[in-house]
């Protein structure tokens, strides 16, 4: 864990890092929650859960594996996906598939502000097949299930799954995120074994 990372400082008990963490990532987490859940009350609840988890487990962040913002986005996405699955619903879509196929942020200004991995991901995405790009945009940004993507695009379900999986694996290769195994168990997905 990087000495300078906010999570490293929080793990060490640095109170000032809390405010900095909220200033740096609060808007990002909040915006993700609103996008995933589409409900302010639900989003507020989710954001509290996410930050509490991040702070309590601040020592889990490994700067060798990703940037801090990517890690926080990962934890946030996991929690929001879990919550949405539990709720059994998703925000109503108000745009058509064609409109959803384009990334929200394309401006050069926005690009230079992206962290390295996100900037690489944006570039790498453009190297994928058009159908893989479309499926990944719908899955990652708009949060559609494979079935919903199949209905929206008219592609067979199996094809959607293949595009999503292969596209993501290809992006991982380009981003160089194939690192040695983490030592900690995946926190979101605790499956109790029968005693």
């Amino acid at each position: 864990m990087s000495i300078n990372s906010l999570l490293a400082r929080i793990a060490q008990g640095d109170q000032a890092a809390v405010q900095e963490c909220l200033a740096r990532y609060g808007g990002m987490v909040w915006s993700l929650a609103i996008r995933f859940l589409g409900n302010t009350a639900e989003a507020e609840d989710a954001v509290q859960d996410i930050f509490v988890e991040l702070w309590k487990n601040a020592d889990r962040y490994n700067s060798a594996l990703s940037s801090e913002s990517t890690y926080i986005t990962m934890v946030t996405r996991r929690r929001l996906i879990d919550r949405r699955r539990k709720l059994g619903r998703r925000p109503e879509l108000t745009t058509l598939p064609d409109a959803m196929a384009e990334p929200v942020s394309n401006s050069p200004v926005a690009r230079v502000e992206l962290v390295d991995e996100a900037a690489k991901a944006a570039t790498a995405l453009s190297e994928l097949r058009p159908e893989q790009q479309q499926v990944l945009r719908l899955a990652v940004y708009h949060g559609l299930t494979h079935e919903e993507i199949a209905r929206s695009t008219g592609l067979p379900l199996g094809t959607v799954k293949t595009h999503a999986r292969r596209g993501l694996l290809r992006l991982r290769e380009i981003l160089g995120l194939r690192q040695p195994a983490l030592s900690s168990p995946t926190p979101t997905l605790v499956g109790g074994l029968s005693p």
Binding site: W30, I34, N57, R84, K161, A164, R165, L177
Partner: protein, 266 residues
Amino acid sequence: MNENKLPLDHLEALLADRALQGADPAEQAGINCLLKQKPTQNSDALDLTAAALDMALSSNQHEPLPAHLLSKLQSQGEAIVGENKSRKVVEPVRMEQAPTPQPALGSKKSLIQWAGWAVAAGVLIYIMLPKPGSVKSHELAYQEMKDRGVVSYPGTTGPKAEGPVSGEIVWDDKTQTGYMKLQGLPVNDPAKSQFQLWIFDDRKFTEKTPVDGGVFDVKRNGEVIIPIKANIKVSKPSLFAITKEQPGGVMVSDRDKIVFVAKPKS
């Protein structure tokens, strides 16, 4: 050859699906099972990839947190960080061996469920980080504790021990400290496995809620004495158990991984 016709690795397909759509307990159990067969697989890599892509596709003009939520989060954060500050890292001690610090022991990372037993959140016991040169003092402290007549828990070999394991745990309810004196636990490779202590408390917890005691290593054959300190009060432990787990501990452990069990002397 068309890449779409190449067979997808089953585990990677499951991890990709999880990164994009999450996983229910059954799906996650399948992933966990396959991960055990591929210990070098970074189970987070595709989740991180999806996160990076999400950031790339998202606008950088994020909406600010609502003021009342920001205020609430700041209060919560300061309280949590205060708790983080009070946490101590843990390290096992061998009697003849100078101790070396070990990261993240007893941290939230190893807050555990064991064989379907849900661990009470926030309840941890820490194996204390000894000061350099304190090995001898641990032995003396262990003996002093025994002389004071604190409760002792003679141990026996667990079902999954590689050989006979013997030893004793002494525990002082008043000071909330104790010692494990163990013999026969094999040397472990921390990159492959670590030992994990569990404590069962008759009053606060049931069999389904053991307290995670953190992980530790055995670096050489022979007798080891490992100090324990409760960060949160534990009343009348009814059983101590040690399992052998993956590095860093586990979220769920099988009962059949028990290598040592200690019960109070009747």
